[in-house]
């Protein structure tokens, strides 16, 4: 009798382990890190691409109710894709856009802005990518929408699309 109970318990343990591990196989292994919505923007400091002596910091974000930090580069094709939306946002004058020029050459960045327009009020240079990590970026392009308290309201990983543009306008107008 005891042997039968022991066998039964062992059988149950094996079955439950088998179920446990087979369920584990079904879980999606591709991890997408959490967005930092609700968090306060980290302190950052980037030299201006126009003048190395001027530093662009979190204190550069002032006099507006909303701010956007956009990480971009002239060599990044999706950045060209989202650029018209950034231009539209800047023309509407609802928020201040600060650019972080990622691993780019100054003259290429300036040529890019001359060709497609400059939506940024200030542009900081991120020569080795460390500033983007400080900002919690996953890649480029990436845009972080902030309120006047510098809390992250929305984060857009990848190029801004029409829906993202509409979402930004909605967030700003609803506040």
């Amino acid at each position: 009798m005891i042997k039968k109970i022991q066998f039964g318990i062992l059988f149950l343990i094996i079955i439950s382990l088998f179920y446990f591990f087979s369920e584990g196989l079904k879980i999606d292994k591709i991890f997408s890190p959490q967005k930092n919505i609700g968090q306060k923007l980290s302190n950052f400091s980037a030299p201006s691409i126009f003048n190395n002596e001027i530093m662009i910091t979190q204190d550069s974000l002032k006099n507006k109710k909303f701010y956007m930090i956009n990480i971009w580069a002239s060599w990044c094709a999706p950045c060209r894709e989202e650029h018209p939306y950034l231009m539209q946002l800047s023309e509407e004058n609802l928020l201040k856009i600060v650019g972080i020029n990622y691993k780019d050459k100054k003259n290429y960045a300036i040529t890019f802005l001359k060709k497609f327009g400059n939506p940024y009020s200030e542009i900081g240079s991120d020569k080795n990518g460390a500033i983007s990590i400080d900002l919690g970026a996953r890649g480029i392009p990436e845009s972080i929408l902030l309120d006047d308290q510098k809390n992250i309201v929305a984060q857009f990983i990848g190029p801004l699309k029409k829906n993202d543009y509409k979402k930004i306008i909605k967030i700003i107008k609803n506040k």
Binding site: K29, I30, F31, P33, Q34, N36, Q39, S42, K103, N128, G129, A130, S132, I133, D134, G136, R138, G139
Partner: protein
């Protein structure tokens, strides 16, 4: 003769300086390597930041270098990155309510196994 002693002293000085510089540079690089080995790459999943050559991994390595230079220690760097990317970025998971089974299961098995062995041995001793 005097001149040759001077030369030897200068050479020794240069040698000592170069050895100490290489040692300190080595330990700094080792620190970066140690930290980046315990961090997960989010663009090439499954690889560590140390093993990956993706842009994200290179950026994180630069970030670690800057933060170490600013005087932050290993734990503070992990905390900063966890705040930005979640606890998943660190290979060693932290003990939380949703992963208590992961941490507790081996100890539980160890305890059950220990009790089982204890009972078995005790029975055998009683039989003898």
């Amino acid at each position: 003769m005097k001149l040759s002693i001077k030369k030897i002293i200068i050479l020794l000085f240069i040698l000592i300086c170069s050895i100490s510089t290489s040692f300190s540079a080595g330990s700094f690089d080792n620190k970066i390597k140690k930290i980046s080995k315990n961090l997960r790459c989010i663009t090439c999943q499954g690889q560590s930041i140390d093993a990956s050559n993706s842009d994200f991994a290179l950026d994180v390595k630069n970030f670690i270098k800057i933060k170490l230079n600013e005087g932050l220690n290993e734990e503070q760097i992990y905390e900063l990155l966890k705040k930005k990317y979640g606890s998943w970025i660190v290979f060693k998971p932290e003990f939380k309510y949703d992963n208590y089974l992961l941490w507790g299961f081996p100890y539980l098995i160890f305890l059950i196994g220990g009790i089982y062995i204890f009972i078995k041995i005790r029975k055998k001793i009683i039989k003898f």
